[in-house]
């Protein structure tokens, strides 16, 4: 592999210098308090690459040293006046004195090391860290299924993916006082509450994570970093798949309800048709008309179902639900309710008393809920809607405000009159 290969690869796949630096900002809450503990803090970055992290640390007041085996990348560091050496990571650690460093870090290096070497690495790090010092190891997150099964292997020098549990256990086992897993750069924000897709489940978990391991120290020293350690970072596979599951569950429940309503409406249609047939016995002309009516109505459910099956194929279950509710169920429900309302006896038979919920009550409840859904849907954010022409999607004009004022006064007057 040519010397420049890794630099080219990194340029292509890890992102620009500024991007990487901004991402590394997530560690600042951990790092900065160390400066008040040790104003003369040193930091050692193993596999320092183009030196983004070294630069960040220098800016906040650390004395830094980096090592890396790739001279073409180190050239970038040297151009920027950073102190770096061409050296193996373990060798770089071994030449440090005991308790000499505040921070030891390795970004995307752990996955390049055989596990035995990684063990030596973590142990050596513990040795060279001052009490309360931090080891930061960042690596691809195999909990992200796309990363774990595919993207990890994009880099031919990667050995094997390291699950967060393994890496944090290793640090604890070696003797670090506390270990925090930080999941980084999740493309999915569960707090935003948008509709999750299967793609989100497969690729939405934080694609990288880091462990931040702290060497034991006096409690008052540890307290300085407590806030950073308490906070939860990133999105886990469990969280994202759980949220997806919940969402799907909700959609199925709503779909079942819609299907139930549709079935009720069909039953009602059949009933109407039957009544019509009986009434039609009397006159031949009427019979003719009603015969047509019956055939139309009887074939209607067939046509409707046919169309639904086709649309379901085209748009999927989830996509159909909203259309279904809007286009079919609300008018059908309204019709069903109107049918009951005109027949008090029938309605009485199907209405419950007290807590006893019968057919009519369920229809009514469903209808009201859908009506409520519907009105909340008619919000007018976008200006491509036929109901919000661009001309009124602007801030109100003077004339609009004037009319609004008059309209409000008129409504208030009308209320007062009543």
């Amino acid at each position: 592999m040519s010397d420049d290969f890794y630099r080219a690869f990194e340029d292509e796949h890890r992102g620009s210098r500024e991007l990487i630096k901004s991402r590394q900002g997530v560690y600042l809450p951990f790092i900065e308090p160390l400066l008040s503990l040790y104003p003369d803090s040193s930091a050692l970055d193993l596999g320092c690459g183009r030196g983004e992290w070294l630069e960040l640390l220098t800016q906040i007041g650390f004395q830094v040293r980096g090592v890396d085996l790739d001279d073409s990348m180190l050239a970038v560091c040297r151009e920027r006046g950073l102190s770096v050496q061409t050296k193996d990571a373990i060798a770089g650690l071994q030449e440090c004195a005991n308790e000499s460093q505040s921070v030891v870090s390795g970004f995307h290096i752990a996955e390049h090391l055989p596990f035995e070497v990684l063990q030596v690495f973590v142990r050596e790090a513990l040795r060279v860290l001052r009490p309360g010092g931090l080891l930061i190891l960042e690596t691809p997150n195999p909990e992200n299924i796309v990363v774990g099964t595919a993207n990890f292997y994009l880099d031919p020098t990667h050995k094997q993916p390291i699950p967060p549990l393994l890496l944090s256990f290793l640090a604890e086992r070696v003797g670090f006082g506390r270990v925090k897993v930080i999941r980084l750069q999740s493309p999915v924000d569960l707090a935003v509450g948008r509709r999750l897709t299967i793609h989100d489940v497969l690729g939405g978990v934080s694609p990288d994570y880091a462990i931040v391991a702290q060497k034991s120290a006096a409690p008052e020293s540890l307290a300085l970093l407590s806030r950073a350690f308490e906070f939860d970072y990133g999105v886990t596979l469990g969280q994202i798949s759980g949220a997806y599951e919940q969402q799907t569950e909700k959609r199925f429940v709503r779909l079942e309800q819609a299907a139930e309503v549709a079935q009720l409406a069909l039953m009602q249609a059949a009933e109407v048709a039957q009544l019509a047939l009986i009434k039609a016995d009397h006159a031949e002309k009427a019979l003719h008309a009603i015969y047509l009516s019956t055939s139309w109505r009887v074939t209607y459910p067939l046509r409707w179902l046919g169309r639904q099956v086709q649309l379901l194929r085209e748009r999927g279950i989830a996509g159909r639900f909203r259309d279904l509710a809007k286009k079919i169920c609300r008018p059908l429900l309204a019709q069903a309710l109107a049918y009951f309302d005109k027949r008090p006896a029938l309605r009485a038979r199907h209405s419950g008393v007290g807590g006893n919920v019968l057919l009519y009550d369920r229809l009514r409840a469903l209808y009201l809920r859908m009506a409520a859904d519907h009105s909340s849907q008619t919000n007018f954010e976008s200006f491509d809607s036929p109901y919000v022409p661009a001309l009124i999607a602007t801030k109100p004009t003077q004339a609009a405000r004037q009319v609004h004022h008059e309209l409000k006064s008129a409504i208030e007057r009308a209320k007062a009159d009543h």
């Binding site: 009603i290 055939s295 109901y387 022409p389 602007t394 003077q398 004037q402």
Partner: protein
Amino acid sequence: MRIVIDLQGAQSESRFRGIGRYSLSLTQAILRNKGDHEVLVALNGMFVETVEPLRAALEGLIPQQNIRVWFAPGPVTANDPTNQERVQISELMRESFLAALEPDVVLLTSLFDGFGDDTVASIGQLEAAHKTVAVLYDLIPLVQADVYLKPNQIYERFYRTKLEYLKRADAWLTISDNSLNEAVEYLQLTPALITNISAACDPIFTKLDAALVDQPGLLQRFSLAKDFVLYSGGADPRKNLTRLLSVYSKLPQEVSDKFQLVIAGKIPAANMQSLRRYAQTCAIPDHKLVFTGNVTDLELCRLYNACTAYVFPSLHEGFGLPVLEAMSCGAPVIAANASSLPEVVGDERALFDPLDEQDFLSKLTRVLTDEDFRQSLIEQGNKNITQYSWDACANKALQALERLGPARPLDKTEINAQRLLQGISQLTSSLTDDELMRCAAMIALNQPRFGPKKLFVDISELARHDAATGVQRVTRSILFELLKHPPEGFQVVPVYGTTTELGYRQAKSFVTKFMAAEPTLPSGDVDEIIETQPGDIFLGLDLQHQVTRYQSPYLSALRARGVGVYFVVYDLLPIQFPQFWPCSLGTAHSEWLHTLAQFDGALCISKAVADELVQWRASHIKTLLRPYKIDWFHLGADIDNSKPSRGVPEDGQAVLATLSSRPTFLSVGTIEPRKAHDVTLAAFENLWSQGMDINLVLVGKKGWLVEALIEKLQTHPQRGIKLFWLAGVSDEYLGKIYDAATCLITASLGEGFGLPLIEAAQHNKPIIARDIPVFREVAGDYATYFSGDASNLAQTVTSWLATNRAGVKSLDSKITWLTWAQSAEQLKKILINSV
């Protein structure tokens, strides 16, 4: 009288059916035959996608500003009871809008739409001065209430409400005597107030040459044998198709062997299947019964032309247009002796009892076997169709409207507005403040204008900051002239938009500063969002790519409203020469052009640019529905009028003295690749090496992508001797340099206009210019032209010097140039003629 046509019939779901075509054809014919009447067309803004096609369909028949779009809060489909409140509000808003147009009569084309679409149609919900006339197509749902109303109570309620509205009309137009009679019988309408204006079919339905009928492969396309019986239209039960199948199956063997039965038109799959099943029970072989599915008008026309006979067994029609279409194509027609069909067919012998299979069978057999009978039906049909034309319908309709006379002397507009607000206040219980605001905004849009039309002049870049570019000099000068001398009947309103907020704002505070006027407004006054009316004009004067792109939905909406949207186009250079600009200016410029090419027109700053734009549009823009105007005007050149800068540097006199000492060629313009200064310099290096004693002066600041050239200029051996590069020159100093120079020289590869040529002419200096259209346009015979590279230019300069060695300045021709006032006059003329 003033007539307002409510054309929702051509906007709603009906636009896909007969009513849509009827509404539009009738409207077009009324506009053709309107005489002295003033006609306005009202459109529903909720059918936003239909506005442009309808404006296009009426283009040339009516000024676009007489097509008015109104707004009301939707959705209002009546099949959803939760829309009820919006329906009522919308009805009031529409009626109030119509009343505010102060018509004598409103003609309603689609009272019965709005169950499954957003049509808003009511009569008499708000007291008004005008009279209302409704077109009544049929009363089929009422006449066959058991079939159409009983099964659907929500629809029945909707339909009966509409019937109540219908009764409130002052007069009615029906499409047949049959519909007229039904209106009297079922609704007890006064016969004297109903006029049958009849109908007509689209002129596309006509007799074709035999050779055209089967082209290309019509019969093959639908698997048709040579001879067939045709039916076209829907498949509702009332169309009586099962009986048609039954009768067809009973044709004598030798007849049915010969003729297929073809059912043309879009029929729902389920209906088609059940008809197929029914055909099987009648033992009709599959290949004998053909369903064409949806056909185009032209295909249908060919089918009419190709069929042996056309049969129309419908039990109930409002008119029965397919009968006329078939006759117009020369097909013999037999039809049911029911509803409107006897009057439309106009031939007793062509009718059969649609419920009596025996009678039906014998008529069908006869038309297929008795050639004399067939021919006589065709002849009768030919005579019959002459009575039907859209112009005839329109004239009957206009007479009916005229009979109603002028509006009642009733109300004033303010009272109308008052009534609307009161009406809404009685209705609303649940509107949120947001929805109320939306209603208010729509009502404001629906209100008529008081005061002059407005010319909105977009100065988005200038209002933000004056970058003192060439474009901005134009923007400033034109704006100044427009504000001083607005086009007649217009008020000029400078506006600006941003990329963060939809809509344009009135640039009040900018104008106060710009015109150096005393502030007439209290400070802290905000620039308001503009209010527009049909007939206004929006002129994109400034060049601001991003703002125009961001505001394009708003500008499209302005256009739909009837505001003319025009842009000034300075050049297409970033598209023609993308290599001469850094990064993606070419893309931005092309996107900007794509945006403005969708509006009403472009005003270019030279004929050359206009020609280029025409060419560019031809290859980049799909043909629009409405014509796109491309015109040009010239820029002004009276420098004194655009606030010239002053000052001559310390070494100025020395430089001017050197320039005067020998022949001096002057090149004016920013140093940038397009100006091809490298070509000019190379030509002069060539001339200097030949020992020619001449100066080259470049005046212009450093631009972009010219690092190598600048380096060369700064280190050139002739620098300060025969080569001068002067940047940051004031207008005053430039004037002196022109006076000291011998000749203007420009090798530029592309320009929008070419102001330096005019400046040279103003200083009586000759010109050597590259031979490009815009220089020819500006300088005509005044200039000496060259084409090609540096050696060509060097030759041209040599021979020019030879002929002008004596320093003779007698110039035969002159460059005529405009003042900014004249330039703005040209611009105004184009704009006002466009409207």
